[in-house]
């Protein structure tokens, strides 16, 4: 795969239009890596002038800040902002709503102001501009797809329509879960829960959300967040529905349809 690294590009005298912020999940988590690859394959196909930070990228600090560790958050933010400003980065796209929220809403207070877009909005723009052309009779045509709203994309940043527009562009049938958009139920991973065992209760949050997704009778659960994806994939395994229902990121849906 050809993936330009920002430091190399700058050394060559190039200045990429947009930085793709891969995020820790997108870099290290096996499931999320395929989302990253899918998104990169779209960027390459469309011919976007982009680059990634590669080994220079660090955690944005979202999980440590949400756990309450403000010191560590500030340390990560300081280092990332220094790097981004040094490279004169103007525009950032990311496939992770947690990175998106932190970069967009929390870094400006600390001296890091960039034009930050989530990949759902980015993909919607490319579709609207006619740069992404969906294959006739693509693999999701007529299929029932439900979309799970990520809290940090939806409630936190009001992005409800972009991912849905992307799904509709596939000629698929978008079916909503009982609770969606601003009423959507969390997958259970936010607030740094991803990195610890759930507190004692009578069920798990991701199981409860998976039940709602299964009840929508969709064949595909679309997500736009690597953490939601992990939580729902786990839920589908527990419900023993892996053969009937797939959990896919919207970038994967597009990558498989162009």
């Amino acid at each position: 795969m050809n993936v330009p690294i920002l430091s190399d590009e700058i050394a060559k005298g190039n200045s990429p239009d947009v930085l793709f912020w891969v995020g820790c999940a997108g870099s290290f988590d096996q499931r999320a890596q395929s989302i990253t690859k899918a998104f990169v394959s779209i960027l390459n196909k469309v011919g976007i002038n982009y680059a990634i930070l590669g080994s220079e990228e660090m955690c944005t600090g979202d999980p440590v800040r949400r756990a309450g560790n403000e010191f560590m958050f500030q340390m990560m933010a300081y280092q990332n902002i220094n790097l981004l400003n040094q490279y004169h980065v103007k525009k950032i796209v990311t496939a992770c709503p947690h990175c998106f929220n932190t970069l967009k809403n929390e870094y400006p207070d600390l001296g890091g102001s960039y034009d930050v877009v989530h990949h759902s909005s980015f993909l919607q723009d490319l579709i609207d501009q006619g740069k992404i052309i969906i294959k006739e009779g693509g693999s999701f045509k007529g299929k029932k797809i439900t979309y799970h709203d990520s809290c940090y994309l939806g409630r936190s940043n009001g992005i409800y329509e972009a991912p849905r527009k992307v799904i509709e562009a596939l000629d698929a049938e978008l079916v909503e879960m009982k609770r969606c958009k601003s009423n959507g139920l969390c997958c259970g991973a936010g607030g740094s829960q991803m990195f610890k065992e759930e507190e004692a209760g009578n069920t798990r949050i991701n199981w409860a959300r998976t039940e709602e997704a299964v009840a929508s009778s969709a064949e595909v659960i679309a997500a736009a967040c690597p953490f939601c994806n992990t939580m729902l994939t786990d839920g589908i395994k527990v419900k023993e529905k892996e053969n009937e229902i797939k959990v896919l990121d919207i970038a994967e849906l597009i990558a498989q349809s162009i």
Partner: protein, 439 residues
Amino acid sequence: MQFIPQILFLFLLCVGVYLFSIRLIAIRRNILRGKSESLNDQPMERWKNLFLLALGQKKMFKNPIVAIFHLFIYLGFLIINIEMLEIVIDGLIGSHRVFFSIIPSIYTFLINVFEFLAFSVIVVCVFFLFRRNVIHIARFRSSDLIGWPKNDANFILVAEIILMMLFLNMNAADTLLQSRGVNDYSSTLTGNFIFSSYLHPLLNGYNNEILALIERASWWAHIIGVIAFLNYLPWSKHLHIILAFPNAYYKRLTPIGKFANMPTVQQEVLYAFQPELANQEITNAAPSTFGAKDVHDLSWKNILDAYSCTECGRCTAACPASQTGKLLSPRKIMMSTRDRAEEIGRVIDKKGKFDDDGRKLLFNHISEEELRACTTCNACVEDCPVSISPVDIIIQLRRYLIMEQSSAPNEWTMMFGNVENNFAPWKFSTEQRTKWIND
């Protein structure tokens, strides 16, 4: 002799307003014990929130049927206050239905509107009592409402029913006396009112003296009830009818996923990396505690939130942790914050200043387990009709746990270590960040 009722009325009114003011001043003091936070920017946006969220009850309409029921009680409360104005003037100058002599042409129409609202309030309150106590709705049955909160809610509904019935009863007795041509009443011939005239058959059997006594007793009981209710309000969850307005106005206007920055920590980190750039004033300031362990470590807005909460439980019904049986309930976070603010207020009332009473919001009122369960999904904030944020309090308490007590679950401690050493929450080296490219 004839002035005795007026003097008595004036006395009752003054005592009622005095006690109410004393209590409001104490609540204001309790709220302002919180840390200062400037929430005065963008006044247009703030007025818009006040009109839409508080006056317009926008969030209530997520559930239109309940919203309309609630609207009846709300309109009843607001509009019947015009009638209260007449009652107060009558009480002070010894007149009877003073507005009738000023606006005779629309007086009967106005009272009919008030009666319609009074009747609606009774119907809705009966329904709400039924819903709260008979129908099984989880948010009204959870353990955080056991005891006083449940009684408080029922008491308010019953009090509203009684007040409205007294109002209708007063009108019924009055119009019946008018029709009988009794002296004091026939001089203000308003004619019958639509709703109270249905009470006439119940009252018809009484003679004029008894009926006049019933009319006066209803009048007095109604106004004494209203003054008592006014003084019950600020001790009750029902205070939301007042505080919903400032709470909507002072709502934070930043995206709800944005956590408040901590400039002191920012400067300390800057000092470590680039000492020449750090703001010396902030860095040299007396070390403060990081995060919050008690209500006075919170912002005043957090405490205003707590006093604005009417314990409806929409937050807890939407909370993923509460729904899956975790200990966390966002409503209980707000109730605990208010309880602790009140507890501190009582210490101040007693001693004139706050002495450490050995208790804290964290641990004594809110446990670590509750705080650990929050996913920061903001569903509670989204669903709150009066712009309260339980998440904001949870985060400040979490900050105290981590930064002051180093108290974290083992997995989090490991995650912190990974972020610190590998710049990622998992144990992978930075070189591995691009491994996916060639896999």
